[in-house]
């Protein structure tokens, strides 16, 4: 069945309209400021975990090590990081009695926790993990309620003096998604199912903690560790 020249013209007119609309939408998406997202269930590569076992602060010779599995969007983790950690840091970590290891354990119900963990990982690339980590926890109430936390984290990155070009490239690439996933899987393998969870000497402690409880724990373990 042949189509009249008029029919073909109408088709080309519709075709051009659809093409322009599609190009316009793609152009808009390319032009608007990129909203970063970090994929979940990413395939973990050997390079994601090679030589990396969490973010550590404290002396390598400290007699006690505590590993914390935490989620940046978890309210208990936030209060622990902002209210209890300063005391723990002052009295235990800085005095060489405790080494602290932070592991990401992003919970599925928190939409920005993986993005926050990735933001901190990108800060770590420039040697400022703990600064970004602290900012993210301190600002939890601001970004957790926002529709897009990425610009807030970028603001923290700028405030702590990160090279924003490197930070943006790091975030866009989602290069640490596998590392975050691996950390979460390791936590699950160890039996972590909530946050914050502390692992001390191979035992898991779940729930709310205060600095006094941690100090007592370290005091009781330090003599054992020294033997």
């Amino acid at each position: 069945m042949a189509t009249s020249p008029g029919g073909l013209k109408r088709f080309y007119a519709v075709f051009i309209v659809v093409a322009l609309a599609g190009l316009g939408i793609l152009g808009y998406l390319l032009a608007k400021p990129s909203t970063v997202s970090i994929p979940v269930n990413v395939a973990i590569q050997p390079s994601d975990t090679a030589g990396f076992h969490g973010y550590v602060k404290g002396s390598a010779s400290a007699p006690v090590e505590i590993t914390e599995f935490a989620d940046y969007q978890c309210p208990f983790c936030q209060t622990f990081a902002t209210l209890q950690m300063p005391t723990i840091e002052e009295r235990l970590i800085k005095t060489g009695r405790l080494r602290w290891r932070y592991r990401d354990f992003p919970l599925q119900q928190h939409p920005f926790s993986r993005l926050a963990a990735h933001s901190a990982a990108c800060a770590d690339e420039q040697g400022k993990f703990w600064e970004q980590h602290q900012r993210i926890y301190e600002g939890q109430a601001d970004w957790a309620a926002s529709s897009d936390a990425a610009p807030v984290f970028r603001g923290y990155a700028k405030a702590i003096g990160l090279d924003l070009g490197r930070y943006d490239a790091c975030m866009s690439s989602a290069k640490y998604a596998g590392r975050i996933q691996a950390s979460q899987q390791e936590g699950e393998r160890l039996g972590v199912n909530s946050t914050p969870t502390l692992m001390v000497g191979g035992r898991l402690y779940q729930g709310r903690f205060d600095s006094d409880a941690i100090i007592h724990l370290v005091d009781s373990l330090a003599p054992l560790a020294a033997k």
């Binding site: 073909l8 659809v18 599609g22 390319l30 997202s37 395939a43 690439s173 989602a174």
Partner: protein, 144 residues
């Protein structure tokens, strides 16, 4: 010709869907409008590459080929010719086969469904259907 017009429009839509997924995959678009999160799971999986090539890029190239063939087949001197319809059907048939493999991976291996992949699957099946109708119409014309 109306089937070929339909194939051209569907190929154009498929091209935009594949381009959208590819631009996301190479980091030029921050998030996918997906809703379920399944799109990111699928895109981040090891099966988002086929023999080292991004599946979304294969989609872009496939739909681009379908678009070119369907637009060429609209030339008045090719009206009623069977071979353009045969090429369209062969290309779309290959696309449907590949889509079936990807859908199997989503359902039974990755355990996540990407809505944009479902959209693409619907488009490629529709292209195959119109290409087969076109082929049958061209065959009928040659027989009479």
């Amino acid at each position: 010709m109306k089937f070929r017009m339909g194939a051209a429009l569907l190929s154009l839509l498929g091209l935009f869907v594949a381009a959208y997924l590819y631009l996301y995959k190479i980091g030029r678009i921050g998030t996918l409008a997906c809703g379920t999160g399944g799109c990111e799971t699928v895109q981040a999986s090891e099966w988002s590459r086929f023999h080292g090539v991004e599946v979304a890029l294969i989609g872009v190239l496939g739909y681009a080929a379908l678009l070119v063939v369907s637009l060429i087949s609209l030339q008045p001197q090719l009206a009623g010719r069977r071979w353009p319809a045969a090429i369209l059907a062969a290309l779309a048939g290959g696309g449907v086969g590949f889509t079936a493999y990807l859908t199997y991976l989503e359902l039974f291996v990755i355990h996540a469904i990407c809505r944009w992949c479902v959209t693409s699957a619907t488009i490629i099946i529709a292209i195959l259907v119109v290409a087969l109708f076109d082929f049958r119409a061209a065959t009928d014309r040659q027989a009479t």
